[in-house]
Symmetry: C2
Subunit: 356 residues, 2 copies
């Protein structure tokens, strides 16, 4: 198989973690006889430094023409004082919108070997938990009209949270589809006791649910969900929610696993195209020190093979290699525990590539 | 001292927990020579059943004329199928707005005796944590314009998130004031990398912070805050945030303590007036069974004495009585652990009243 992949190494630890993912992808190509062609584009801080903007139109067009995008991470203190529209995050928002990536899939899974890193008590962890947050990514408060105006002698700021039936339906369908491949349970999260957009959300989700009689569908209020993630994460399979609630809850869910350095994510549109990136940030404090955990990025590459290229066997090979490396006792600093062997970013990449 | 208190017993376990708080308040009056006059009004489900609406204008006027309101809890499955504007929660939103209660203070404190109920590991709990969420309560998405309209053949729903400088300033001032009485640290939570309202929030909070050089002020993004509450709750003293983020984060913070049945809350306006209620819900499943934990409501009554009546000594007496009861090993079912004596709602009220 031949595929064109756009690489965004990004800022902070971005370049080093993407390099390890490439090492693993090279091994996959060698073993399974595929050809992946890579084109690098700049985004976030690196693009600001080079072009003065967080994402150029050319870079976006290059991404559009590819089969998938693999991203490290963007942002850092260096660019924190720039005005809003020139900040690294704007690149991320622009590429999501520009590529129509409305479905953000964030698994939050507790690796049995990493139980010790989980902040929750053993009684709550039980046999572990395994959920996916399906977050709407191109609507809601993130992309609604906003303005800050003077009114009666003071400034007033306004953001709008808008959803159409169609925007809700397409993400709900993705959520139910993924639940079918998992444990057939969707918990749809909203604030229907307050928001019009949540009441429409709930109505459309129920309509979609009617076409999936094999999938259980439960409504949960967002405040309750924030509690339940801490109280009993085992109850969740697929969490389906809008953009801002998804931002908050997916981060909470990642932290509840205790090993955010292991968590990948995919942002998808209606086609097979996707953007794949680790759930964690750019960790500027450890950038370039060979200390970063490349596993989330390596697993994001595995998601790319599975979702965008339908290469399930190859994706399995990567995921199993990661499990094997953990079983063999290798850990980067962020997930280190007694009796394990601590390795750097590069060595972790080597160890996983070897096991593919 | 003579005070007029409006009581809203409400739905579910509301009546039984308010009755225990009254028992404790009676003891305070007897011991310290005060006279509290009570007027009952209906709100939520009980008001819907009686008057067809969740809060009548007369009830609101009665509340306005009082010195403080003590509330049990509202809502339950019985009223879940009513249209939005007739649901019990609307009573709560209407009384908040009607009384101008813009500052919601929700302490989340880990009682050393209840460590076992905390879902977090002992290493994370350490010596315990003690924070307060200061949530803006009458602005933002809760009270902005909203509409659901047909557009190009489909329904589109819109909510608006609006904040003025003045709305932000008055809650920030409350946040910094309370930090001064605590550990002098405010963490202001927003989503300034996306929202205009958050950028204005941040600007005004920084302006207010300048008048409190003795209070440390840190900005935190809402997604990060949802993670930090699980990862390291000890870092928080006062969390200052807008309405919707506060709804989510205050519930997460309560759950992180593991003993939501112990947590009180106050909703305040510019005057000494306040509405006091437990942080937990109406628990319809155990209503009327003498199983509810009345402590959150009893502690809400203590907050009322402290914030609205300046009766610090009396508030201390109640809080110490609660600590004493826990130290003596008495627990309601929700916080029961090995070696303790389990008691019902009424007995818990008696035990605390005795110790005042
Ligand atoms: C950087 C920021 C704009 C972004 C978001 O809020 O979506 C990030 O938190 C994420 O979740 O990918
Ligand atoms: C009942 C509901 C409208 C309310 C809110 O969202 O404010 C509740 O969750 C709370 O936090 O008091």
């Amino acid at each position: 198989m031949e595929k064109n992949i756009v690489l965004i190494k990004g800022d902070g630890i971005g370049p080093e973690i993407v390099d390890e993912a490439l090492k693993v992808l090279d091994k996959v190509c060698e073993k399974y006889g595929h050809t992946f062609r890579y084109t690098r584009i700049l985004m976030g801080g690196e693009s600001i430094d080079e072009y003065g903007v967080p994402l150029t139109d050319e870079a976006l067009d290059t991404a559009k023409a590819a089969d998938a995008v693999l991203l490290g991470s963007v942002g850092g203190p260096k660019w924190d004082d720039l005005p809003g529209h020139l900040r690294p995050e704007k690149g991320l928002l622009a590429i999501r919108k520009g590529l129509g990536l409305f479905a953000n899939v964030r698994p939050a899974y507790l690796y049995p070997e990493l139980k010790a890193a989980c902040p929750l008590r053993d009684e709550i962890i039980g046999d572990g938990f395994d959920m996916v947050v399906m977050r709407e990514l191109t609507g809601g408060l993130y992309f609604g009209a906003r303005e800050t105006v003077e009114q009666d002698g003071q400034m007033v700021a306004k953001d709008t949270l808008t959803y159409s039936e169609e925007e809700i339906r397409r993400i709900a369908v993705k959520g139910f589809d993924i639940a079918r491949k998992r444990r057939n349970k969707v918990i749809s999260v909203d604030k229907a006791n307050v928001l019009d957009s949540s009441r429409l959300w709930r109505k459309v989700v129920h309509e979609v649910a009617a076409s999936y009689p094999d999938v259980e569908c439960v409504d949960m209020l967002v405040d309750n969900c924030a509690m339940q993630l801490v109280k009993d994460p085992k109850q969740f399979d697929v969490i389906l929610t809008e953009n801002m609630f998804g931002d908050i809850l997916s981060d909470e869910a990642s932290m509840v696993t205790g090993s955010i350095g292991m968590l990948s994510s995919a942002s998808l549109n209606e086609t097979k195209f996707g953007l794949y990136e680790p759930s964690h940030g750019s960790a500027p404090d450890i950038a370039g020190m060979d200390l970063a955990n490349p596993i989330a990025t390596i697993l994001s590459a595995a998601m790319m093979l599975r979702y965008s290229f339908d290469l399930d066997q190859e994706a399995d090979a990567i995921e199993n290699a990661v499990k094997q490396v953990l079983a063999d006792g290798y850990r980067t600093g962020d997930i280190m525990s007694d009796g394990c062997k601590q390795v750097g970013c590069k060595e972790m990449g080597d160890l996983i590539a070897e096991r593919v």
